[in-house]
C-alpha cells in the first residue's frame, strides 16, 4: 500500500468526527487525555484562587476579610478540588494521553469508557462549582467527618453536594483505573514483556491497581453517609449503634493510599525523565519495580495514622505506626536510584531538571516530617495543627506538582510539536519554588506554636502574626509563578517553533511518532527487543511511519491495535476498538440525572435513572462484538492472528474481572463496617430479641447453586448455553427473592438501629449484585440468539459468568451473615 494513502486512511478511520458532533462523540485517548489535563488545570486554578482567599484571610489576626461560614466553604472546596478535581484527574489525563504511546499501541482498551469517565468528571466537578457559586458548597472539611457533616449540624445540601459530586467523579477514577490496568496488561508492543515495559508503565499499573482497591471504601462511605442524611439510616450515629469512627476508617482506607496514588504516577514521570536528562539508563529498574510494588501494598496499612488521637488501643496504633515508618524505605530506594542515575550520567540542566531538583528538596522534607508524624506521641502533639498542613503540602506539592511541572515541560513538545519560546519558565520556577517554601516552611513552626488547622481567625496575642503574614506573601508569590507557567505554556502552544522528532533524545516509544501525534499514534505498530527501542533502532519512527511494523494497513474502516500475552508480550490477537460515539455522553447524563435527583431530594425519580442507566449500559455492550468472524488476519511480519472476538481472554473479560474486584472491595468494606459497628460502636446489641433464621439463606444458597451450575454447563457445552443462561438468571432471581424475604421478615426498620441499617445495606448491595448478574445472563442469552455468541466466540459467556457468579456469591455471604447474626445478638 502507498504510505501516504495509508496515513490518509488511518486518519479517516481514527480521527474524531468533524464539527460539534466530534466534540461530543470523541473517544480518542489523545483528545480525552488532553481534555482531562486541561480541565484539571482549570480546577487547579480555581483551587489556587481559593488558596489565595485562605491566605488573605489568615494574613493578619482578627481579619474582617470573610466570616466563618464562607471560610468553611473556601477551605473545604480548596482541599476537595485539589484532591478530587485536580490531582486524580490530572494523573488520569496524563496516563490516558501517554500510556498507549509509550506502550506502542493505538488507543486504550475501552475508548468509550475513557469518554464516559471524562463526562462524569466534568459533570461532577460542575456540580461542585455551581454549589460554590451558589454559596452552598461543602463546608465540613475535605474529609467531611460526621457528625459535623451529618444532617443535624449541616442541614443544608452542602454535604450532599460533596457526597454526590465526588462519588460522580469517582466513577471516572474507577473507569480510568480499569482502563489503565487492562491496557498495560494487554495493549503493548509485540514482544514487550512486562520487564521490558517502560518504567512508567509499572508505576501506572501499581497506581491503577491501588485505585481499584482504594476508591471503593470511600464510595461506600459516601453512599452510607448520603443514605443516613437522606433517609435517616443511622450508620454514624452512636445513640443508635452507629459510629462516626466508621466514616473515618472508610475515608482513610481510601485517603492514605490516595497520597501514593497521586505520588506514584509523578514518580513514574521522574523515573522516565531523569535518565533522559542524565543521558544514562535508569539505575535499578528491578529495584524500582520492587519498591513501587511495596509502596502500593504497604500504603494500605497506614490509614490509622490519620486517627492516632481517636482513642484506638495502643497496640493497634503500634501496628500502623510501624507500617508508616516502613513505607519510607521503598520511597528512599527510588530517591537513591534517581540520585544514582544522575550521579552516573551527565545531567543537562534544562527546565525539567529545575523542577526535578525542586522536587528533591521539597519532597524529601515532606517525607521526613512524614516519618515524624508516623510516631504516635509526636503525631498526638501536632494533630490538627498547621504542622500537618505544612507536611501534607510538602508531600503533595513536592511529590506531585513539581514532578508534573517537569513532566509538562518534558512532554509539551510531544503534545504541541513546538519548542519553548522564551525563558519565562525559569522565572516561573523560581517564583514557585521560593514562594512555596516561604508559604509552608515556617508553617511547621506555626503549627508547633499551636495554631490549629481550619480556623478562620486568631488573636494577636497568639504570636502567629509574622509567620502567617510571610506564609501569605509566599502564597501570592507562588500564584504569580503558576501564572507565568500558564503563560509560558500558552506561548509555546501558540508561538513555538516546530520541534524535531525526539528532541530530548529519549528512548521510549512515544518519541517514535510524529509530533503532535496523529490520532492513530503509529501507522504501524512496533516490535521491541529491549526497554530502549529508540536506542536499538534510531530509525524506528521512520520505519513505523512507512508501515513496516505490525498492522500497517487500514482494512474496512476498523480501528485495530495489537493485544499481547500478559507476561511475555507475544502477539496474541488483533483488538478491534469502537469508533466515535455519543453513548458515553448520554450515559453520563443519565448518571447525572440520578445524582441530581438525589441532590435535589426528588428521591422517587432516582430509580428511573437507575433503570435508564441499565438500559444505556445494555445498549452500550450490545454494540460490541460481531456476527461475522473474519478469522485469523494478516498482522504483518509473518503474524496471522485471530481477532478479539474469537479468543477466551478478551479485554472485556479482564475489565469485568477488575470491575468485580472493585465491587468486591466495596462489599468487603461493608462487611468490615458491619463487624466494626458490632464490635466497637456503643449501644450494641440493639434492643429487642433476634434469633437465627435459616430458611431464607437456604433459598439463597439454592438459587446460587443453580446460577453457578447452569453457567458452568453453558460454558462446557455450547448447545446448553442458552438454557444455561436462562437458568443462571433464574438462579439469581431466586437468590434475590430469598434475600428480600429474609430482610423483610427478620430485619427491623433500617432507621431503628445501625444493625438494621447495615443489614438492609448488605441486602441492598447483594440484591443489586444479583440483579447485575441476572442481567448479564439475560444479555448473553440474547446474544446467543442473535448469533454474536457462538461456540467459536464464547468470551461473552465467560464474562457473564463472572458477573453472575459474583452476584450470587455476595448473596450467599450476606444471607448467612444476617441469618446467623440474630443468634449472636
Amino acid at each position: 500500500m502507498n504510505v501516504i494513502q495509508l496515513h490518509h486512511d488511518l486518519t479517516r478511520i481514527w480521527n474524531n468526527e468533524p464539527g460539534w458532533r466530534g466534540v461530543f462523540s470523541s473517544v480518542s485517548h489523545t483528545t480525552l487525555g488532553k481534555r482531562f489535563m486541561i480541565t484539571a488545570a482549570v480546577f487547579f486554578g480555581i483551587g489556587g484562587v481559593l488558596a489565595m482567599l485562605i491566605r488573605a484571610q489568615l494574613a493578619t489576626p482578627a481579619s474582617a476579610f470573610t466570616g466563618p461560614e464562607v471560610y468553611g466553604q473556601i477551605f473545604t472546596m480548596h482541599g476537595s478540588i485539589m484532591m478530587f478535581l485536580f490531582a486524580i484527574p490530572m494523573l488520569e489525563g496524563f496516563a490516558i494521553y501517554l500510556l498507549p504511546k509509550i506502550l506502542g499501541a493505538r488507543d486504550l482498551a475501552y475508548p468509550r469508557l475513557t469518554a464516559l469517565g471524562w463526562w462524569c468528571y466534568l459533570f461532577g466537578g460542575t456540580i461542585m462549582l455551581l454549589a460554590l457559586l451558589g454559596g452552598v458548597a461543602p463546608d465540613a472539611g475535605w474529609f467531611l467527618y460526621p457528625p459535623l457533616s451529618g444532617k443535624e449540624f449541616t442541614p443544608g445540601v452542602n454535604s450532599d453536594v460533596w457526597l454526590l459530586g465526588i462519588t460522580f467523579v469517582e466513577i471516572s477514577a474507577l473507569a480510568a483505573a480499569i482502563e489503565i490496568t487492562v491496557t498495560i496488561l494487554k495493549f503493548r508492543a509485540a514482544n514487550m514483556s512486562l520487564t521490558k515495559m517502560p518504567i512508567l508503565a509499572w508505576y501506572l499499573l501499581a497506581t491503577a491497581g491501588m485505585m481499584i482497591f482504594g476508591f471503593p471504601p470511600l464510595i461506600l462511605g459516601s453512599i452510607l453517609l448520603e443514605v443516613e442524611r437522606a433517609f435517616g439510616w443511622p450508620f454514624f450515629q452512636p445513640e443508635l449503634g452507629g459510629s462516626p469512627l466508621l466514616w473515618q476508617h472508610l475515608f482513610w482506607l481510601f485517603g492514605h493510599p490516595e497520597v501514593y496514588i497521586i505520588f506514584l504516577p509523578a514518580a513514574g514521570a521522574l523515573s522516565t525523565i531523569i535518565p533522559v536528562m542524565a543521558r544514562t539508563p535508569l539505575i535499578g529498574y528491578g529495584a524500582i519495580v520492587t519498591a513501587v510494588m511495596a509502596l502500593a501494598f504497604l500504603s494500605f496499612g497506614l490509614w490509622v495514622h490519620h486517627m492516632f488521637t481517636t482513642g484506638i488501643p495502643h497496640m493497634a496504633l503500634g501496628f500502623f505506626s510501624a507500617a508508616s515508618v516502613l513505607v519510607a524505605i521503598p520511597t528512599a530506594v527510588q530517591i537513591f536510584a534517581w540520585i544514582g542515575t544522575m550521579w552516573a550520567g551527565r545531567p543537562k540542566f534544562t527546565l525539567p531538571m529545575y523542577y526535578i531538583v525542586g522536587f528533591f528538596v521539597v519532597f524529601v522534607l515532606g517525607g521526613l516530617t512524614g516519618v515524624m508524624l508516623a510516631i504516635v506521641p509526636f503525631d498526638q502533639q501536632v494533630h490538627d495543627t498547621a504542622f500537618v498542613t505544612a507536611h501534607l503540602h510538602y508531600v503533595l506539592v513536592g511529590g506531585f506538582v513539581f514532578p508534573m511541572l517537569a513532566a509538562a515541560y518534558y512532554w509539551m513538545p510531544h503534545v504541541t510539536g513546538r519548542t519553548r519560546v522564551m525563558r519565562v519558565g525559569i522565572a516561573a520556577f523560581w517564583l514557585i519554588f521560593i514562594g512555596f517554601n516561604l508559604t509552608f516552611l515556617q508553617m511547621h513552626l506555626t503549627g508547633l506554636l499551636g495554631m490549629p488547622r481550619r480556623v478562620y481567625t486568631y488573636p494577636v496575642e497568639a504570636g502567629w502574626t509574622l509567620l502567617n503574614l510571610t506564609s501569605s506573601v509566599g502564597a501570592f508569590m507562588q500564584a504569580f509563578g503558576f501564572g507565568l507557567f500558564a503563560l509560558d505554556i500558552a506561548l509555546q502552544r501558540r508561538l513555538g517553533k516546530p520541534t524535531r522528532r525526539d528532541p530530548w533524545e529519549a528512548e521510549t516509544l512515544e518519541w517514535a511518532m510524529p509530533t503532535p501525534p496523529p490520532q492513530y499514534n503509529f501507522a504501524s505498530l512496533p516490535t521491541v527487543s529491549s526497554r530502549e527501542p529508540l536506542s536499538d533502532n534510531r530509525r524506528i519512527g521512520v520505519d513505523l511511519a512507512a508501515g513496516k511494523g505490525l498492522l500497517g494497513r487500514a482494512i474496512g474502516g476498523r480501528r485495530e491495535t495489537l493485544a499481547v500475552d500478559i507476561v511475555t508480550g507475544a502477539p496474541e490477537h488483533v483488538a478491534i476498538l469502537p469508533g466515535s460515539s455519543l453513548t458515553p455522553l448520554f450515559t453520563a447524563l443519565v448518571f447525572g440525572g440520578f445524582f441530581m435527583s438525589m441532590l435535589l431530594g426528588i428521591y422517587w425519580l432516582a430509580p428511573v435513572f437507575i433503570v435508564g442507566a441499565a438500559v444505556m449500559i445494555w445498549r452500550w455492550v450490545a454494540t460490541t462484538g460481531t456476527t461475522h468472524d473474519p478469522g485469523p488476519v494478516d498482522a504483518g511480519n509473518g503474524y496471522y492472528l485471530p481477532t478479539g472476538f474469537a479468543i477466551r481472554g478478551s479485554v472485556g473479560y479482564w475489565g469485568s474481572v477488575l470491575a468485580v474486584a472493585a465491587s468486591g472491595t466495596l462489599f468487603a468494606s461493608l462487611v468490615f463496617g458491619y463487624f466494626f459497628l458490632w464490635v466497637v460502636a456503643p449501644n450494641w446489641p440493639p434492643p429487642g430479641a433476634f434469633g437465627a433464621y435459616l430458611l431464607e439463606p437456604i433459598i439463597v444458597t439454592a438459587g446460587a447453586l443453580l446460577a453457578v451450575v447452569a453457567a458452568r454447563l453453558g460454558l462446557r457445552n455450547f448447545d446448553r448455553s442458552r438454557s444455561g443462561a436462562i437458568a443462571a438468571a433464574a438462579g439469581s432471581a431466586l437468590a434475590i427473592a430469598g434475600l428480600l424475604a429474609g430482610a423483610i421478615r427478620h430485619l427491623p426498620e433500617p432507621t431503628f438501629h445501625a444493625f438494621a441499617a447495615t443489614g438492609w445495606a448488605l441486602t441492598g448491595f447483594a440484591v443489586f449484585s444479583c440483579a447485575v448478574g441476572a442481567l448479564a445472563q439475560l444479555f448473553v442469552h440474547r446474544r446467543i440468539a442473535s448469533g454474536h455468541v457462538i461456540a467459536q466466540r464464547p468470551h461473552e459467556l465467560r464474562t457473564a459468568a463472572v458477573w453472575s457468579d459474583y452476584g450470587v456469591g455476595v448473596a450467599v455471604v450476606v444471607a448467612w451473615l444476617l441469618g446467623l447474626s440474630g443468634a449472636a445478638l
Binding site: L185, L194, T195, G286, A287, V289, T290, M293, A294, A296, F297, L298, F300, G301, P313, H314, M315, A316, L317, G318, F319, S321, A322, A323, L326, P330, I566, V567, F676, V679, V680
Partner: protein, 103 residues
C-alpha cells in the same frame, strides 16, 4: 496473570497477615481477653503472639517456594518482594511484644 500475582505474593501475604493481626486484636479487646493466660501475658497477647509467629512461618514457606525459581527477572523481583513481605510482617507485628493490648 498468575506470574504477576506470584510476583507480588509476598506483599499479598503481608496484607493478609496485617489484616488478621488487626482484626484479631479488635476482636480480642471486644471480647475482653484481658485475663492472664500465662504469667505476664494476657489472653489477647498470647493469641496475637501465636498468630504472628504462625504468619511469619507461613511467610517463610512462601519465600522458600519463591526461591525455587529465580530464572527470570520477574521471578527475582518476586523473591525480593517475598523478603519484603516477611520483613514487613515482622516489623508491623513488633508492637505485640511490647505495647499494651487493649488500652
Amino acid at each position: 496473570m498468575t506470574a504477576l500475582i506470584k510476583m507480588v505474593s509476598g506483599l499479598i501475604a503481608w496484607a493478609v497477615s496485617f489484616s488478621v493481626l488487626y482484626a484479631l486484636h479488635g476482636l480480642g479487646c471486644a471480647l475482653g481477653w484481658t485475663e492472664q493466660a500465662v504469667p505476664g501475658l494476657t489472653q489477647a497477647r498470647v493469641v496475637l503472639l501465636v498468630t504472628w509467629i504462625l504468619l511469619i512461618a507461613a511467610h517463610g514457606v512462601l519465600l522458600v517456594w519463591l526461591l525455587r525459581s529465580c530464572a527470570t527477572q520477574m521471578q527475582r523481583i518476586g523473591v525480593a518482594i517475598g523478603w519484603i513481605g516477611l520483613g514487613a510482617t515482622i516489623v508491623t507485628g513488633l508492637p505485640i511484644l511490647a505495647i499494651s493490648s487493649c488500652v
